[in-house]
Each structure stands twice: as C-alpha cells, then as structure tokens.
C-alpha cells in the first residue's frame, strides 16, 4: 500500500465526485492493457499482462498427470500459486508478500471452483477417478500499480487460452483398473473449454454514495474505503465476489456497482477474446509475431 497524505486523498475524492480521475480517465475507463501470450519457453502456456505500464504480471502453466480428488472424480485440478516478487515492492521481502499472495490465490481459486468452469475442469479428466491433468498455474507479480486482481485474472485466463497439453493415449488394461496412459509428446491440443474462464473486475468506492471507479491506480486504491471484486463469466454471471476495505457500501451503490462490474467484465472479455483469437490464429499459421516483451 502506498502512503498518501490527506490532501492527496481529498484531491482524488473530490475529483471522483466530479467524475474526473487524476489521469484523465472517466470513472469506468480502464487503462491500456498490454497482453502477450506464450512468453515463456519453459511453460506449456504463459501470458504476461501489463496495465498502464505499471502493473506487471507473468503467468506460467505447467501440466502434470495426477490423480483426481475423490470428491470430483471426473474433474481435473487447477492449482494456483501466486508469488509477489520483491521487485514490486520492498514490503514483499521474505514472507512479507505472503498475505497478499494468499489473498490473490484465494480469489483465483474461488473463480475457478465455481460451476462456471466445471466443463473446463471436466475436460482435464483423462480416466475418471484414476487419472487427470493437474494444471499448476504459477503467477508472479513483477510490478504492482493497482488492480492486481484484474490483471492477474486476465493473465491467467489468457494463459489458459493458449495452454497446450500433450495428447494422451489411454491403453486399456485387462481389468478396469489397469488402464494405462501414454503421453504423446509430439501431438498437442489446446483447451477448448478455457473460453469459459472468468475474469475479475474490481470497483472501488471512496466512501461517497453512488461514486465508484474501475481499474484503480495504487494511489486510488490506497484512499478507497471499500471495494468489490467480482468474477464475471463470459455469460455475464457472477462467479465469486469478495469485498475489501472497511468503509462499507450502501445497498443502492452496491447494486449498481455489481451491474457495472458485470458489464465491464463482459466488455473486457470481449476485447481480449478478439485479441486472443487473432493471436492464436497467427501462431497456428506461423505468421511472425513481433515480441513486445521487455523491449517494447
């Protein structure tokens, strides 16, 4: 958290009352987002998301064959590990980032355990109750300039969209239990159902009735009194929501916040899906992709 003086907070609040933000955006505008996929050769799927050149998140996915959990024998497992690199802030040194990491991880887990992604998880199953894919999704926060939830969920979704899994051949054994699998390292497939994956939208309120903003910078975040983070599925459903901050929000504001969050989420999903489609098409056709990476 950045430390802001009262005067600075007042400035941001007063601006918000007039619908103006310090970087010239309107209340529900989001900053320019840079999205890049398949950035890590060591991961099966990866994505890097930067918001306004200040928030920077790198996500890598590594699949592994494992046994499914007993409660959901026909589903694969998606496990999240979020790490806040000390690059982002000296506060994250040692175990300093553990709390934030846990919070971010929990949000992702909440988003990806909702029924919205059930089909995605089912598509990871190999042999019911015996073998499934476990996707280790490792996220690294390199730079934090506000809206971590949004950036993180976007990066995870993009990485899931481009992740490729080796084809698995099930060799039937003599008995039912003896089925063996063989991983074919030559042929790969993508995860079709990853289009179901949700993203998170955070709206923050500065304590004034009916006034809230999307995609906050870290300054705006530190003077927000309450915020709502909501997972939005491509069908516009809410799939996990949490609140933060101690200010409290009145009912009417909350209600309209949820509506706007859902709408904003759909817009972001639409825009990223269009980008990802061309991105994937380009990669499939072998068209040259200009890396924007760290040299943009």
């Amino acid at each position: 958290m950045q430390f802001l003086s009262d005067a600075e907070c007042e400035y941001i609040r007063n601006g918000a009352k007039d619908g103006i933000r310090s970087d010239g955006r309107a209340m529900l505008d989001i900053r320019p987002v840079t999205l890049e996929t398949t950035v890590l050769p060591t991961a099966s799927g990866s994505a890097r998301v930067r918001i306004g050149k200040v928030t920077d998140i790198l996500v890598g996915i590594k699949p592994e064959v494992a046994e499914p959990s007993q409660d959901f024998p026909d589903e694969g497992i998606i496990s999240f590990t979020v790490e806040c690199s000390s690059l982002a802030s000296p506060d994250f040194v040692g175990r300093g980032g553990a709390d934030l990491s846990a919070e971010l991880g929990q949000l992702l887990t909440r988003l990806y355990t909702s029924p919205v992604t059930r089909e995605l998880r089912r598509s990871l199953s190999i042999i019911k109750g015996k073998k499934c894919w476990i996707l280790h999704i490792d996220a690294l926060v390199l730079d934090s300039g506000g809206n971590l939830f949004g950036a993180l969920s976007l990066a995870v979704r993009a990485a899931l969209r481009v992740v490729i899994l080796p084809r698995v051949i099930v060799i039937p054994g003599e008995a039912d239990d003896d089925d063996e699998i063989e991983v074919d390292e030559e042929e790969f497939k993508m995860l079709e159902r990853s289009r179901d994956a949700p993203i998170a939208v955070t709206l923050a309120s500065q304590g004034d009735r009916g006034i809230y903003m999307a995609d906050c910078t870290s300054e705006e975040e530190s003077c927000a009194t309450a915020s709502i983070t909501m997972g939005v599925s491509p069908l516009g459903k809410s799939c996990g929501a949490v609140s933060a901050g101690t200010g409290g929000i009145d009912l009417d504001t909350l209600s309209s916040m949820l509506k706007d969050a859902a709408q904003l989420g759909l817009e972001i999903l639409d825009a990223t899906d269009r980008f990802l489609k061309t991105d994937i098409d380009n990669r499939m056709s072998g068209a040259p992709i200009v890396p924007i990476g760290f040299f943009s």
Partner: protein, 259 residues
Amino acid sequence: MGAITYGPLVRIDGEGAKTKERDVREDGRRWDELRPIYMRVGMLSTATGSGYFEGGGTKIFCAVHGPRPSASNYTIDGTMHCDVRWAQFSGREGAAGRQGDSMSEEERELSSSLQRTLASAVRLENYPKCRIDVSAFVLEDGGGGFAAVTTAASLALADAGVEMTDIMAGSTVAVIGKQLVVDPSAREEAIADGTVRVGFASQRAKVTDLMQNGEVDLEQFREAIKVCCTASAQVCGLMKECLVKKAKKWLKKRGRSEM
C-alpha cells in the same frame, strides 16, 4: 447474564404469495425463514467480552480480549486481530484433518474478512497503541457458520464495551436453481449453485462485507444481497434485545432498576 432465545421461526416478511407446498424446506422452514436463534453474552469469565450464537446446527463462541497495550510497534490507531477457527469435530470439511495450530487457508481468509467487517464499526482511532483480539471458535457448523461468526463477534465486542458506531450481523443466502434460500443449512449449502454472504451494519444500512461463491446470475445476486440485508437487520434487532436484557439485569443487580 443476558440470553435471548427466539423460536421457533423468525419470519422475514410476509409479502410472498407463494404456494405453501413449494415453499417448504427439508427442516420445515419456508424459503425465507431463519432458523431459531439463541444468543447469549458475557458467559466467558476470563474474556473482556464474550458472545455465544446458536442457530440451527451452528454453535459459536466468540471472545474479545482487550483493548490492551500493543506489544509490537507503535500505531496511531488501534489494531484488531481476529482469529476464526473451526473445531475439529465441527463437521466442516477440512477442519477435521487439520494438524497442530496452523490455520487453514480458509480460516485465514475468514479471519481477515471478519477483521475487515468489525474494523468498519469499531472506533479504532479511540484506542491508540492498543490491540483488540477477537477470537471465534466454531463448535458446530450446520451451515451459515461464518455469517454467524460475525454476529457472535459483534455481540462480544459490545459486551466488552468496545466503542462501536454500529452493530453488525451476518447472514447467508443460497441460490438453488432459481430459488433464494435464506439461512441455508449445511446440506442446502452443499447443493447450492452459489451462496452470497453479507455482513451488514444495521444503523448505517451499509454492507460491510460481501462474499459470493459459486455461480450466481447478476439479478439473483442483487436480490440476494437485499434479502441478506433484511435478514441481518432482523438478527440485529434480536442482538440489541439481548444486550439490553443483559444491561437491565446488570443494573438490577446494583439496585438500579431504571437507567
């Protein structure tokens, strides 16, 4: 010692013109009915303040210690530390297999969630260099455990005489199909498509904590929040009654029947 029992049923409102047959739940409640509630304050002698909440199969103890001097670094405002734990026998998944003192991820998350909710009402600026410890222990979880923790903690804080701007209660609504189910039991929670949990400050009419799990339609979500708020407001009423009852008893003991 103040205790209040309400039962068997607390109605939320009477406006629903639903047919009786469809409305009946497993335990005989209507969709919009709370379970019977039993509340009590000040039953733990060692704590500064304590609260007990029982509703349906959910039983929760909450103790408040402090405000006491903060041992660690200096802070301008007071700090609040919350600790929510499920008993190993509480019937909640994950709690049973726990080893040692370490908190599970979920408990940690709920602790910080509780801290947020309570901090919105407690006037921490009046307790510089102090810390207040709130520890809640869920004996049995028959659904809606965390919402009840908010209620019990709020009671305990009030009992401890900590300055607060409001009294908070929590409540849960589950979405099963198209139906909103108030104060779901553990079984109902398990089969629900999604649940919505709200922490509600009754005086200011503000939502201090919001948590949604699973999948919920936007409209349902907004409706659910409203229902939660109404239910919480009712629980708040009961809490007040319970606290007043205790205060009266206390005054009587000292020979002052009226304030």
